[in-house]
């Protein structure tokens, strides 16, 4: 007990983080341990190399994008609170708590989760997934096994399916609509982050 409270003191802004993200102190501790584990040179922050050292990400088709998502615009370091903030998006939604009506929407709500995913598609941050961006994602996911024409036709069809305002791109609302049947709360949640 004593050790955990002292470790909690190591974590900067622990209480604030807990309130903002909804993590419990035990979770925060685990995340801090992981943060320290990733941070090989003990710099106190994470750089892209640290992320790339993680095993599975190299094989992940969108590994690069995920890493970039941690680094908010311009910066090339991630401190602990940003780390936690990003991971808070993957907390399982606590439906009971949301009913009380928090003023600020917690990162784990459905919209915020979708927004996070949307931003991984929309690299230029113009609020729309253009055909080219979609093609990039498809190319990354499907690799070399498909022809360019197939990719084009899939992208074409995907856009046609949801593009209501005919701007040849997928806006965030259209994105949300296309995923309305999917249980995002379950899909984008990692169990141990409860």
């Amino acid at each position: 007990m004593g050790s955990s409270s002292s470790s909690r003191n190591k974590i900067p802004n622990a209480q604030e983080l807990m309130d903002q993200t909804g993590f419990s102190s035990a979770h925060l501790l685990r995340l801090y341990d992981r943060f320290e584990c990733l941070d090989r040179d003990n710099k106190g922050y994470l750089s892209p190399d640290d992320f790339e050292a993680v095993g599975g990400l190299a094989m992940n088709p969108i590994g690069g994008r995920i890493i970039d998502a941690f680094f908010s615009s311009g910066q090339d370091t991630v401190d602990f609170s940003s780390f936690v903030w990003i991971l808070a998006h993957f907390r399982p939604t606590d439906r009971n708590r949301n009913k009380e009506g928090t003023q600020q929407e917690l990162p784990d709500s459905r919209t915020r989760k979708l927004k996070f995913a949307f931003q991984l598609y929309d690299l230029d941050r113009d609020g729309k997934i253009s055909r080219e961006e979609l093609l990039q994602v498809l190319r990354a996911m499907l690799g070399l096994q498909v022809t360019e024409e197939q990719l084009q036709s899939i992208a074409e069809r995907a856009i046609q399916e949801v593009d209501l305002d005919k701007d040849d791109a997928i806006s965030f609302d259209e994105f949300k609509k296309s995923l309305e049947k999917v249980d995002i709360d379950t899909k984008m949640s990692i169990g141990f982050l409860k």
Partner: protein, 765 residues
């Protein structure tokens, strides 16, 4: 008025048929005696005739020999009865809304059994052999083959908890409580000992997949609950088998030993895991076999059925869990087999499975009813009533207790409503009856059987009938009818990758991590061996996309036939859509050449249109309108064709459409579709060539054009006829697509095309 009268006459006819069938079968049964006598006399006659050569034997022009065909004949009659009943219930709409089909079928069985008994004969009983070997496998295979794997694997922990721990709890609770009841002197049940009670408990506590399927299918509940209850009913088979055999052995020997108990536990693992392994082995062999079946497509479905059935039977040889083996076989086999077999075979498999399971299901319930009448019964009020009560109580307690435990580990918790439905959906059915039937004969057996039947009736009738209004009342989430969407698929896969990445970053080996590992393993090692040809390297997204396009193409074909045109049912073989050699060079056409070709073709089309204007008197009046509509339609059609052309291939060595269709079509066109025919005629230029690689032809449709232009002189017969017809289909489909079955006649008078389609201004002359 008319439909009512029709339905009442149908009902009468149905009743008449029913009674006819029953009396027919009864009549034939009694005819046995008669025919035997007559054959006896004929023999006598021939003997006497042989002796006295003076008499001549008359050649029997028409003779009667029922014994010969008795068994298949009666079986067919029963199946026919079952089918008529099924048909009848769907024709009469009012009753089938309130009462689930299974109840009606049991009721019919009771009627039939009553009739048979009234005529003095012994009605047939649901023989356990018949049930376990012939009636049960189709239902389980159907369920297992079409099991939604995603939701099943996501909830596997919960399902296993309910299946194993829940069933164990039920067995011991019911067995124990019933023993306590039997101790009451007033019940006169002192002869029922503990082991028999436990045996009874093991028979009665298993949730029955047949009943669950029958009832849940009609209420369209949301997928989570459906898979929970249904998955439980499938997986508890292992527990049931082990406990049943265990207690039967113990009851026989009247002793319980510690080693026996330990062996029981071990045997549980052996039974379940062994069953799964047998299924997996057969599944892999089946998948491997399907790799070579392209040489004989007609027998492909049979492989699927036979391998699965063999898996079931092989498991039953060793007293392993046949149900789990069957499910495992279906689940393993499915992705590989579907990649290998032709589309027609896939449809055949699907429909045969549905057909067999439907017939089995109907027969089971009817026989349940008949067996109830057959008896013999030993009715003991105390025993029966307490059984029913304890079944309900133990189910409720079990579900509540387990959910409290499971919810600690679940991301999406089970609410009280969910728990209620799960508890209420614990229906018992024919498996319990058949297991009871296998008991050694004796008074206890009859006692048990009566109780089992009562419980089954109670669950199926009371719970089955009330579950639908309860679902409405509690506003339980219903199944969402989801249209398949390429977006959903893309985004779901994207999210999978995302979650795997995040899990890696967190260092947490969760659900996604293992799924990703399994997928990778599957892709690198397994798919290569089990899927033939090119499909083995096809990513899942592409297969999904292909399937969607195919479905859409087929829908278009079918809707085209609604516009009264001869259409081809182009049930395509996806397998035929394969690359042969190197198709790429032909598509490497420079941009300038493309443009040139485009311009050429456009010019030609415009010229044609100009020519058309002077062709017939009809056109003169409405040319302006026609142009807009037809251009828009033309554009959209090209769009559709581009997509369809991937998949509507006619294999080079088969001509699916007789040439005569083309002429029929022309006849029709003279009336109304002149313009369009000419458009479609020129459309030939734009369709793509079958023998070329069909992969991905989105934007450079001119590449298609060029290759087509090159190819047409070489293969005019094969490709042109089906293509012309295909275009012809497309055109009426276009009309459907415009929304209102725009017939040309309406076009001629109605100036309103859909405004959104008029994009292609370049085509205006």
């Amino acid at each position: 008025m008319a439909p009512l009268r029709r339905s009442s006459t149908l009902r009468l006819t149905g009743l008449l048929c029913l009674s006819f069938l029953v009396f027919f079968s009864r009549g034939f049964a009694s005819h046995d005696v008669v025919s035997e006598k007559s054959s006896g006399t004929i023999q006598e006659d021939s003997h006497s005739q042989a002796n006295s050569t003076a008499h001549k034997k008359t050649f029997p022009v028409l003779s009667f020999n029922y014994e010969h065909v008795r068994t298949p004949f009666e079986i067919s009659l029963w199946i026919l009865l079952a089918l008529f009943m099924k048909l009848g219930f769907h024709i009469i709409p009012t009753v089938s809304h309130i009462v689930p089909e299974s109840c009606l079928l049991i009721f019919v069985g009771l009627l039939v059994g009553g009739i048979i008994k009234a005529t003095g004969e012994q009605p047939p009983v649901l023989d356990s052999n018949l049930f376990f070997l012939y009636l049960l496998p189709p239902i389980i295979l159907d369920a297992g083959y079409f099991l939604p794997m995603r939701s099943f694997t996501e909830n596997i922990g919960t399902i296993l908890m309910f299946a194993v721990v829940g069933t164990l709890w039920n067995v011991f609770f019911i067995g124990g409580m019933m023993y306590a009841v039997c101790q009451i002197d007033a019940a006169e049940l002192a002869h029922v000992d503990l082991l028999s009670c436990l045996l009874f408990g093991s028979i009665i506590s298993a949730v029955d997949p047949v009943s669950v399927l029958a009832v849940f299918e009609e209420i369209h509940i949301n997928e989570l609950l459906h898979i929970l209850v249904f998955g439980e009913s499938l997986l508890n088979d292992a527990v049931t088998v082990v406990l049943y055999h265990l207690f039967k052995e113990f009851a026989h020997e009247q002793t319980v030993t510690v080693t026996g108990a330990i062996l029981g536990v071990i045997s549980f693992f052996v039974v379940s895991l062994g069953g799964v392994m047998v299924g997996v082995i057969y599944g892999i062999v089946g998948a491997f076999t399907s790799r070579f079946t392209s040489y004989s497509r007609v027998i492909e479905p049979l492989f699927v059925f036979l391998y699965s059935y063999m898996a079931y039977l092989s498991a039953e040889i060793f007293h392993l869990s046949g149900i789990m083996s069957l499910i495992a076989c279906g689940v393993i086999m499915r992705p590989y087999v579907e990649a290998n077999i032709s589309h027609k075979s896939y449809t055949t498999v699907k429909y045969f499975l549905k057909m067999w399971s439907s017939v089995s299901d109907t027969l089971i319930f009817i026989f349940l009813g008949v067996s109830t009448v057959a008896g013999p019964h030993t009715w003991n009020w105390t025993f029966v009533i307490f059984t029913v009560i304890f079944c309900l109580v133990s189910r409720v307690l079990g579900v509540i207790g387990l959910t409290a435990f499971i919810n600690k580990f679940r991301i999406v918790k089970l609410t009280k409503k969910d728990q209620f439905i799960i508890a209420y959906g614990g229906l018992r059915g024919a498996i319990a009856f058949s297991l009871g039937f296998l008991l050694d004969n004796g008074e206890i057996k009859n006692l048990f059987l009566t109780a089992i039947i009562t419980v089954i009736f109670f669950t199926v009738f009371v719970q089955g009938m009330t579950i639908r209004p309860l679902v409405e009342l509690l506003a339980v989430k219903k199944k969402k009818e989801s249209k398949e969407s390429i977006n959903e698929e893309i985004h779901t896969q994207f999210l999978d990758h995302l979650l795997t990445g995040i899990e890696d970053i967190c260092g947490h080996y969760g659900h996604h991590h293992w799924k990703d590992k399994l997928n990778r393993f599957n892709k690198t090692y397994v798919k290569r061996w089990l899927i033939a040809g090119e499909r083995s390297t096809e990513p899942q997204l592409i297969s999904f996309y292909n399937k969607m396009e195919l479905k859409q193409a087929m829908m278009m074909v079918e809707s085209g036939s609604a516009a009264k045109l001869p259409t081809i049912v182009s049930t395509v073989s996806i397998r035929n859509v394969q690359t042969k050699g190197a198709p790429k060079p032909s598509r490497a056409i420079s941009k300038s050449r493309e443009e040139e070709i485009r311009r050429l073709l456009r010019a030609n089309l415009q010229k044609t249109r100009q020519r058309l204007r002077s062709y017939s008197r009809y056109e003169l009046l409405n040319d302006a309108l026609e142009d807009n509509i037809s251009e828009a339609r033309f554009r959209k059609q090209r769009e559709m064709e581009r997509r369809m052309s991937h998949y509507l291939t006619v294999p080079a060595n088969r001509q699916e459409t007789p040439p005569v269709r083309k002429h029929d079509f022309k006849m029709q066109c003279i009336n109304q579709y002149n313009t369009f025919l000419f458009h479609t005629g020129y459309h030939k230029v734009y369709t793509y060539d079958d023998s070329e690689s069909p992969r991905g032809r989105a934007s450079p449709s001119c590449a298609d054009d060029v290759s087509e232009l090159k190819e047409t002189p070489e293969k005019p017969d094969q490709s042109s006829t089906p293509r012309a017809n295909r275009d012809a289909e497309l055109k009426p489909k276009e009309q459907d697509d415009q929304g209102d079955q725009l017939k040309v006649s309406r076009c001629l008078s109605d100036p309103g095309p859909n405004p959104e389609d008029d994009e292609d201004s370049t085509f205006l002359p």
